[in-house]
Every structure is written in structure tokens, then in C-alpha cells.
Amino acid sequence: MTTTATGARTATTGTTPGPRGLDAERVSWSVGGRLILDGVDATAPAGAVSGLLGPNGSGKSTLLRVLAGVQPPSDAGARVAFDDADLLGLGRRKRARVLALVEQEASTDLPLTVLDAVLLGRIPHRSLLAGDSDADRAVAHRALATVGMTAFAEREVTTLSGGERQRVHMARALAQEPALILLDEPTNHLDVAAQLDALRTLRALAEDGVTVLAALHDLNLAAQTCDHVVLLSEGRVVAAGDVRDVLVPDVLDPVYGVRTEVLTHPRTGRPVLSFELPG
């Protein structure tokens, strides 16, 4: 593992004051009188991969968009802190230099090369009138190397497979040199190898000190990958904490309406889940 393209901070451990990661409180969002997020408190520790879990429609994507500042929270009491900085109060461009968002389905029909797509991540870092500098290109190439897409730099994005495209989006996010990266179901539509590959990249980022929060709907992937998880259901946090404490039958069964059995992986010691319908 060589260094990543990110403006990584060294992960600090122990009790000394240092990067604290993401800490959101009382985040609500409503649309048309319907409360989609209802006072969500969520944390993502610095230098770790945190998972945002929950059934379809539980508000994962919405929460990520609000945290990213793309949609303002509907309640003035909301607070989103990252390493003691107030993310919601930050100017847009400044925020885009601190955090990057990888959406679930971002596509384009335009004839854009992979390198050009990744260079978009440099926009918050330079004057709106400036073109790509050599430094921008260097960062973009490093980001491509991080996700293993160097050989694809001149390919058009529209010609890529789903997994390759996902890696391009990750590289675009990395080109923003964020200290916090939010991803919405980064493993969706990927085959098993590509899923593991995407998650390995996330772990590598976290080891470099980047705070990672990823919405995931595959609980076993979360169990394998995440250190910390937040479980949403109908816009509220049902449980949060270490995977081993959250991914347990008592918590999961009512939320998903299934019967869960938790096994332990013989080698990694991590939980492995098996589900069946009740009755």
C-alpha cells in the first residue's frame, strides 16, 4: 500500500485530543410534510470505516445528502461537526475540500474520459476560471492509481463496466483530497470480487486517516468491513456502535422482519449473518 491521493491525516489513537471524525446530532429532513429523517444522531470515528445500515427507504441516502450539505436539514437544531469544524456552517467550496460524496447512481451520456471525470474533483480546489494545473493532473493520476484504474485514464466513462465506473467515482472523490468521504451503496451492482475490492479501498483510505461513512445494505459486507455501524429504520437511529453489538438478532429482527442467526467467521472472528423469514 503506497500513499493514497488524499490529504490524509495520521490516524491518532488513544485519548489525546486529535481528529474526532464525524459527529452529527438532531438531523431532521422532511418533504411535503413527511418526516424522512427524524432527529438522527450519527457518528463516524476518524480513521475508520463506518457503515450506515437500514432497510430500503429508511433514509440512508437522504442522511448522506444532508451530511454532505447538498440538502439543508429542515430543523435549525441540527449540528454536523467534523473534527470540531461545523460542516453545515462551512462555505460550499470549503466544505467540498473537506468532504466528498459518492452518489449511488451518478451517470453521464457525455463523451468524458476517465481522467477528465476524475479531474472534476479538483474543481473546489481552484479558481472557477482556471484550467487543470499539472498539480491537479498529478492528484488525479494518484487517485486513479489508488483505485487501480490507471490503465483506463483515456477510456470514455460510458464504455466502462459498473464496477469500473464505481471506481472512477471513488477516484473523483479522492481527487477532492477529502478528510471525510461519504458513499451511498458503493457496492451496489458489483460482483463479489468488485465489492470486496471497493471495500478494501475504503479500508486502505481509513488506515490513511480518512473518515469513511458508507451506506450499505448488505449486512454481511458491513460485518466484514465496518468497525462502527449506525442502523436506521424509518428515519430514526435504532442502534449504533461496534458491529458486534449492533448486528445481533435482537436488534436486526424487528427492523428487517427476519430471523437472524449470527455465526462467527472461523478465521477473522467477525460476525457472519444468516437470515430466514419468520414463521
Partner: protein, 361 residues
């Protein structure tokens, strides 16, 4: 990151060879080449037509009027020929160039803002609004008011479309398109009604020629209006490259890159509308330039806007000058509205682009 089996991060090979990076990366030469082509286009286009003129004659006339004839030691031109160059052809050619440049830039901006490959400068109902304004004053016999009426009509259409789009909720690309369509249809219906109700035999041809778009009546006033609009608004629009780039993957992606999406969309839509309104007021609505040119230029430059915007402007200018030259010479001494020529060229080219599978739609 360690290398992985799926995509060895080795020397650029394999997949990279399937594109044309040379065309993309040779970008630095496109702009100067397009400038040279435009200057040559203007000089040559002025010489084409009845009365034998040479590029030298054109240069002499221009130099004379700029007070440079003596300095450059050029023979002054005969009064008749000079009038032909300076009063008739040059204003017409320059107006065509300005209109072509403006339409192409507006087309790029509209396509990128709405993420719709079929978007063109008239998307917000601007041409229909302008047509309604123009037809109203034409049937009333107030031809002098035509440019003003067309501009007012275009701006009214913009206000109506944005109000409608905003009334539905946040102004998203789809809502922009739908609101524009509604305003367009309404204005078109009103225009047809006015024509059927009150147009007389004489005004029909005038109306039809205006509706198809034409720069036949261009004067130095037209040059000033379209030229200043293109220089001011076109430059502003053309400098929005980074911002438009940010919209490539949609509104959310743009917002996540630090772009104030709603404000930018408003500003750019208003910029496009004012520029298009100014162009339409002088030339009527000329179709296809703002639709096709952006796609054609994108094939050369790729989707990034920094080169795409100015290059589209330059190519649009040259294209419309040649289209107008055809319009006034092919059936000489009769003229056809240039809009017929752009449609006759544009429609097959568009079909060709589609057929070549460039994923336009």
C-alpha cells in the same frame, strides 16, 4: 494501493488504445485554427455573390473605413463596390457570425444545464415567445418595432417558463424542459392564431421569412446588437466552463463539488435567454445551429467545457456565415431564409451523429 488482478495498473496499454487521445490532447491548436478559419471565412464570404470582388477589395474597403487605407497603402475601392462591401455584405456576414457564435454557446450551456442532449437555445420557449412578439408587430404593420417586440417576447417567455418551473418546485432539469415546452406550445398556438386571423398576403412572406430565421436585412445596427450581446453575455457564459463541468454527473454531484446549483442555474438560464433574445431580435429564430454544433464540437474536444465553449462559438460563427452564403447564392437572385439551410444541413448531420452511435440520446 497494491495492484489487483482486475485492472493491472501498469503502463498504459490495452483499453487505453481504443480511444483517440491524440485528438483530445491536441486541443491547444483547435482555438487558433478556428480563429484563422473564422477570419478567412468572413473575408471570403464577403467576396461571394454578384459583382466580382476579391479578398483584396474587401481588405481595402475595411481598411478605408477604419482609416487605415493610407497607412497600409491600399487602393481605395470604387463607391459602388465599397457600398456593396461596407453597407451590404459585411454587416450581413458579421451578423451571421455573431448569431452563429451566440447560438452555439447558448446550445452548449442549455445542453449541459439540463443534461439533455436535445436541448437548444430556444428550449425555454424563447423562439416561440420572440415569434409571437414579432408576428404581432408585423401584422400591425409596425415593422420598425420588430427587434424590440421579438426581444420582449423572448424575455416574456423566459419569465413565464421559469415561473412555471419554479411553481412546480425546485428548478430541476426536467422541470425546465417541461415548462419550456408548455410555454413554447402556448406561444406557438397564439402565433398561428394571429397569423390566420389577421395576416394579409403581403405580410405572409415577411412573417414566414422571419419565422424561419434570416440575416438578409442585417445592418450595422444588427452587428452592434448581436456583436455586443455575444461579446458581453457570450464571454460570461463561455467563462462558466468549470461550473458547467461540475454538472456532468448531475445536480447533486455539482452541489457536492461546491457549486451553488440553484443560483448558477438561474444565472446561466437568464444569461442564455438575454443573449438568445438579442440574437432572435435581429435574425429570427435560426434552428439547428445551437443543437448540432455543440455535439459536433464535443466529438473533437470531449465533454469538458473550457475548450468546448469557445470552440463552439468560433465554429458556430463560421458555420452560420457559410450557411447564409449558401442561402443568398444557391437560388440567386432569389434568397431563401438561412434557417432553411441550417435545417437542411443540420437534420441529416444530426441523423448521422445519431446513427454513428455517439450516444447523443
Amino acid at each position: 494501493m497494491t495492484t489487483r488482478t482486475a485492472a493491472p495498473a501498469g503502463p498504459v496499454a490495452g483499453p487505453a488504445a481504443t480511444v483517440r487521445p491524440a485528438a483530445r490532447r491536441g486541443g491547444v491548436w483547435w482555438l487558433p485554427a478556428a480563429v484563422v478559419a473564422l477570419v478567412a471565412t468572413v473575408l471570403v464570404a464577403v467576396t461571394i455573390g454578384p459583382a466580382d470582388l476579391s479578398v483584396g477589395d474587401v481588405a481595402a474597403s475595411v481598411a478605408g473605413h477604419l482609416g487605415l487605407g493610407g497607412v497600409l497603402g491600399l487602393e481605395p475601392l470604387g463607391t459602388l463596390q465599397d457600398g456593396m462591401v461596407w453597407q451590404l455584405r459585411l454587416p450581413r456576414v458579421l451578423t451571421a457570425a455573431a448569431v452563429g457564435a451566440g447560438l452555439a454557446v447558448c446550445g452548449v450551456v442549455m445542453q449541459s444545464l439540463t443534461r439533455n442532449p436535445l436541448a437548444d437555445p430556444y428550449l425555454l420557449g424563447l423562439s416561440s415567445g420572440a415569434s409571437l412578439g414579432a408576428v404581432l408587430v408585423l401584422v400591425a404593420g409596425l415593422t420598425v418595432l420588430l427587434p424590440v417586440a421579438a426581444f420582449v417576447g423572448a424575455v416574456a417567455a423566459l419569465v413565464a417558463a421559469l415561473t412555471l418551473a419554479g411553481a412546480i418546485g425546485t428548478i430541476t432539469p426536467t422541470r425546465t424542459v417541461l415548462a419550456g415546452l408548455a410555454v413554447s406550445q402556448l406561444a406557438a398556438a397564439a402565433t398561428s392564431f394571429v397569423i390566420f386571423w389577421s395576416a394579409t398576403g403581403d405580410s405572409y412572406r415577411e412573417i414566414l421569412s422571419w419565422l424561419m430565421g434570416s440575416v438578409a436585412g442585417a445592418t450595422w445596427t444588427s452587428v452592434a446588437v448581436t456583436g455586443i450581446a455575444v461579446l458581453v453575455l457570450g464571454t460570461l457564459l463561455a467563462s462558466s466552463g468549470s461550473v458547467l463541468d461540475a454538472f456532468t454527473f448531475g445536480d447533486t454531484a455539482a452541489a457536492a463539488l461546491g457549486v451553488p446549483v440553484a443560483r448558477v442555474r438561474w444565472l446561466l438560464l437568464v444569461g442564455v435567454a438575454l443573449l438568445t433574445g438579442a440574437l432572435v431580435s435581429q435574425s429570427g429564430s435560426i434552428g439547428f445551429v445551437g443543437l448540432i454544433l455543440p455535439h459536433a464540437v464535443r466529438m473533437l474536444t470531449g465533454a469538458r467545457h473550457r475548450l468546448l465553449l469557445p470552440l463552439s462559438a468560433l465554429c458556430g460563427a463560421s458555420f452560420l456565415v457559410w450557411a447564409d452564403t449558401l442561402a443568398r447564392t444557391v437560388f440567386a437572385p432569389r434568397e431563401v431564409p438561412v434557417g432553411i439551410v441550417t435545417a437542411a444541413i443540420g437534420a441529416p448531420v444530426f441523423a448521422l451523429l445519431l446513427w454513428k452511435g455517439r450516444r447523443i440520446a
